[in-house]
């Protein structure tokens, strides 16, 4: 624990104050629960003040980051003078302390609409919800972001260059909204058990569960897209513990919303939902423990630091595990249920099997991610690779598709098989067409069976969505739309990971190299056009159909850390993405490519990848050269060149030659050439009007292999990967429709309640 004297007081006071106010909130609502209704106003005020204190503490941290107050250790660790403003502020959630802070901030803000809308559940829900927040406050009090350094450094350490990306500004905060929201349905469920009031919690928790599911899903998608599009990890998902830590609650969340749907529509799953909602919240805590305690440090690409809060996290988890177990064990049997008399071929039965299948996925991911922990108990710590997750999920996805195929047209009572078959005929037809197209496109027999199921499920949900949307309104059809999205994603996942082609190759500058059916040429560098950008590499790719694509992947060294960073170039075509990710650049032996050419006015020299023509001298490049000559001071002459890259448009380049007549010295700054390399004026021959040009980094026509600059790249094609994002958007929109539908339903319910 940091002693008080070394804390930045405004922030520390706000944090400690928030702890006191949170305890007041619990006490106040406790009074209400003991029948003292007059305390409600106090409790609400205490909660609002608690929220205010947390907002204040966050503002203090934001202000410290914005003003670059390097006295504060957290600011010094994650920020630096060279950071632009948006990264300066995003440094808020760059470290662990700050990410707990943003989690707490969203948590207290969500609590305000929560207490206003909780109805008769308010006192119990707010006691429980505030307890979940107190857990976060305690961690922040223990590991305060407001610790001050004994001496003030002039500059901070800067933000990790991997995080200096626009996605960093938006992805982590959204993730924490999802984490914060997961506590709400949990508190409703526990409140229902506590109050023995089992009837209305599901309707109230449903919109929160859907909302949290959507936000968390959106954050996961952003993370995947960030990894794919900017970080150059090649894919969007690596089954890394940090990724899994957010996927597990999302999968449990998917099970929960189906369970809540069953409860709301058919009064089923009334007991199971208490367990599911607990699993969602506990998996958030468990994921936090896995990724924040350092237990998986040797098993992830992400960095972990043991902040020394493992014990606190375990205590927090134990508190909620034991508390919820107590309520579940002693109260769950009291929850009334209706006997399930559904026939096997009914909608209800299919939904039960579907939830079991997603539940299996959630449990499998939890199990796989935890492998290093439990294998360490029995012997050597071991982990499972992405192959295992893929294998397991291939089966799970197939089962999901098979169930989703017929469930839209299945009824609660169960249709006779013949009738169901007739209703599914259009979907069969659509799936057959898709599968035949797939077979022609080269999909294997094994995968085409899977493709058939997925396409059939896609069409049957689409079909049902249209039917339902027309009769009951489009919001009511959100579930079907979401399932269409899931199936589109499945197609994208199958195509992009089953049929991707990736080649790692080293390209000699200027030498076309065969890469699969394509030809790739490393053409040099493209100069940045603004200081915020980075120079890009130019890799020209001729595709098998003759189409020429110029890609600009980036490879740069972070000035502060010397760390080499790579940004891939992604070119999107209708059917596939062309993905060019740089690995390493070697400049080659010095001088190996430098060569000089004497050119008369109008003469052209042909080099590899570009032609250079000397147009003449520019005597007004930096003031009038004739006047400068007469004055005997510094004089500048420009050489006007036209540079034509092979297959590109001609460009004018001006190379300067500065002469200090008084000192008899000349200076010729190298000028970048389009397509890479540079040119400088070596000498000027005034008598015949010719110029001597010195080229660097440009290969002569007869290039010698192995001596020039070389670029190692990973060139891959990823068929239909856009469907992964596209499907996810559809899933999100469908979920949003469902959310709006449930909010409307809740309002109707409340209206009825008031009327009664």
């Amino acid at each position: 624990m940091s002693s008080l004297t070394s804390l930045y007081l405004p922030g520390a006071v706000a944090l400690w104050g928030s702890l006191v106010l949170a305890l007041c909130t619990v006490w106040g609502y406790g009074q209400v629960l003991q029948g003292r209704d007059g305390s409600l106003v106090f409790a609400r005020r205490a909660y609002s003040s608690f929220a205010g204190a947390v907002v204040l503490a966050s503002l203090v941290l934001f202000f410290a980051l914005a003003t670059r107050d390097f006295r504060i250790e957290y600011v010094q660790q994650y920020s630096g003078l060279d950071l632009p403003v948006h990264f300066q502020l995003a440094a808020f959630w760059a470290g662990q302390k700050g990410s707990f802070m943003i989690w707490l901030l969203w948590g207290v803000l969500l609590g305000i609409p929560l207490y206003k809308s909780a109805g008769r559940h308010e006192p119990t829900v707010m006691v429980l919800y505030t307890l979940t927040l107190i857990g976060l406050v305690l961690i922040l009090v223990r590991e305060s972001p407001f610790v001050m350094l004994t001496e003030t450094p002039r500059d901070g350490k800067g933000l990790n260059p991997l995080l200096q990306d626009n996605w960093m500004v938006i992805h982590p905060p959204i993730m924490f909204v999802g984490f914060a929201a997961s506590a709400v349905p949990f508190c409703f469920a526990m409140s229902a058990l506590w109050r023995r009031d089992y009837s209305s919690w599901a309707a109230r928790a449903f919109p929160w569960a859907l909302g949290g599911f959507l936000v968390l899903g959106g954050a996961i998608l952003m993370g995947g897209y960030w990894a794919y599009d900017t970080l150059g990890w090649g894919g969007y998902w690596g089954w890394d513990p940090v990724e899994n830590a957010s996927l597990i609650p999302w999968l449990f969340g998917a099970v929960l919303i189906h369970g809540l749907y069953l409860e709301r529509t058919k009064n089923r799953f009334r007991r199971a939902n208490y367990i599911l909602v607990t699993l969602v919240y506990l998996s958030v805590l468990y994921g936090t423990f896995l990724t924040r305690s350092g237990v998986l440090a040797d098993f992830s690409v992400h960095s972990f630091v043991d902040l020394g809060i493992s014990g606190w996290l375990i205590a927090l988890m134990a508190f909620f595990v034991l508390g919820s177990l107590y309520l579940l064990v002693f109260r769950l049997r009291e929850v009334p249920t209706e006997p399930n008399v559904d026939p096997l071929n009914s909608r209800g039965a299919a939904l039960v099997l579907g939830t079991i299948t997603i539940l299996t996925s959630a449990i499998a991911v939890t199990f796989g991610t935890s492998a290093p922990l439990f294998t360490a108990w029995v012997g050597k710590a071991a982990q499972v690779g992405p192959e295992w997750y893929t294998k397991v999920h291939f089966t799970i996805a197939g089962t999901v598709a098979a169930l989703l195929f017929y469930v839209p047209f299945q009824t609660w009572k169960g249709l006779p098989k013949g009738e169901l078959l007739v209703k599914l005929l259009p979907s069969y037809a659509g799936a057959t067409v898709v599968t035949v197209i797939g077979l022609f496109a080269g999909v294997s027999w094994f995968h085409s069976g899977y493709l058939f199921l997925v396409a059939a499920a896609l069409f049957s949900n689409l079909h049902k969505m249209i039917l339902k949307g027309r009769t009951a309104g489009w919001l009511a059809a959100g579930g079907y739309l979401a399932h269409v999205g899931v199936m589109i994603m499945f197609v994208g996942i199958l195509a992009s990971s089953g049929y991707d082609r990736s080649t790692k190759v080293t390209l000699q500058q200027g030498v076309p190299t065969q890469v699969g059916e394509m030809t790739a040429t490393f053409k040099g560098f493209k100069q940045k056009t603004s200081p915020r950008e980075k120079d890009a590499l130019i890799v020209e790719i001729v595709r098998e159909n003759g189409k020429v694509v110029t890609t600009y992947p980036k490879l740069f060294q972070n000035a502060r850390s010397g760390q080499v960073m790579a940004n891939p170039d992604v070119t999107v075509f209708p059917l596939l993405d062309l993905y060019v990710s740089p690995i390493e650049y070697q400049p080659g032996e010095a001088g190996a490519t430098a060569e000089a050419h004497e050119l008369a006015k109008g003469q052209t020299v042909k080099l590899q990848g570009l032609d250079v023509q000397f147009l003449g001298f520019d005597l007004n490049a930096e003031g009038n050269a004739m006047e400068q000559m007469a004055q005997g001071g510094k004089m500048t002459i420009g050489a006007q060149l036209t540079v034509t890259p092979t297959g590109g448009a001609p460009q004018n380049v001006l190379a300067l030659y500065r002469v200090d007549q008084a000192r008899g010295m000349a200076e010729a700054p190298p000028t970048r050439l389009p397509g890479g390399g540079s040119v400088a004026v070596g000498a000027i021959n005034a008598s015949n009007g010719s110029v001597r040009l010195v080229f660097d980094g440009v290969l002569p026509i007869e290039a010698v292999a192995g001596s020039g600059p070389r670029l190692s790249v990973d060139i891959s094609t990823k068929p239909l990967i856009q469907l992964v994002w596209g499907g996810f958007y559809v899933l999100m929109i469908g979920g949003l429709f469902a959310l709006l539908h449930r909010v409307r339903e809740l309002k109707t319910l409340e209206g009825l309640g008031k009327a009664a």
Binding site: Q77, Y78, G95, K157, G158, L159, N160, L162, W233, G238, D298, S300, V301, H302, S303, V305, P339, N340, V341, D342, P343, L344, A349, V352, L353, I356, T357, T360, A364, F367, G368, A371, T375, G379, K380, A381, A382, Q383, V384, G385, E387, W388, K391, V392, T395, I396, T399, K504, T506, R560, S561, Q563, V564, A566, I583, E584, R710, S712, D714
Partner: protein, 132 residues
Amino acid sequence: MNKKLLGIGAVLIMAFAGYSLASFRTALTPYVDYKTARASAGTVQVAGGLAKASTRYDEASQRLIFGLTDEATGDLLEVRYEGVKPGNFEDAVSIVAIGRFNSAEKVFDADKLLVKCPSKYQGEEVEEKVYE
């Protein structure tokens, strides 16, 4: 609950669990010391520091060979990796190699490398990257 549904559900769960567990055992890659790695036939992972001046890289065939040293025991393991040499490889403070020992050629064939490079960010933390 409908008995048939319960039955199908149970069969489904058992099938998933059985399948997952069966493939889980084979998919597990334990962290082992070099002695165990040399003796085992399956996929394992080994960790260590990069042995000084041990790196050889053949650009044409894209084959990287380097020595891994166990800091605790001083044991040395030769690792072979087919693929482009990771950037900043020589700066690596620690390398995790996942693969299997080739007892005929007395070399550890790595499918995947996890390279940790020193970083000045976040205190003592290191930057990591996976190469496959």
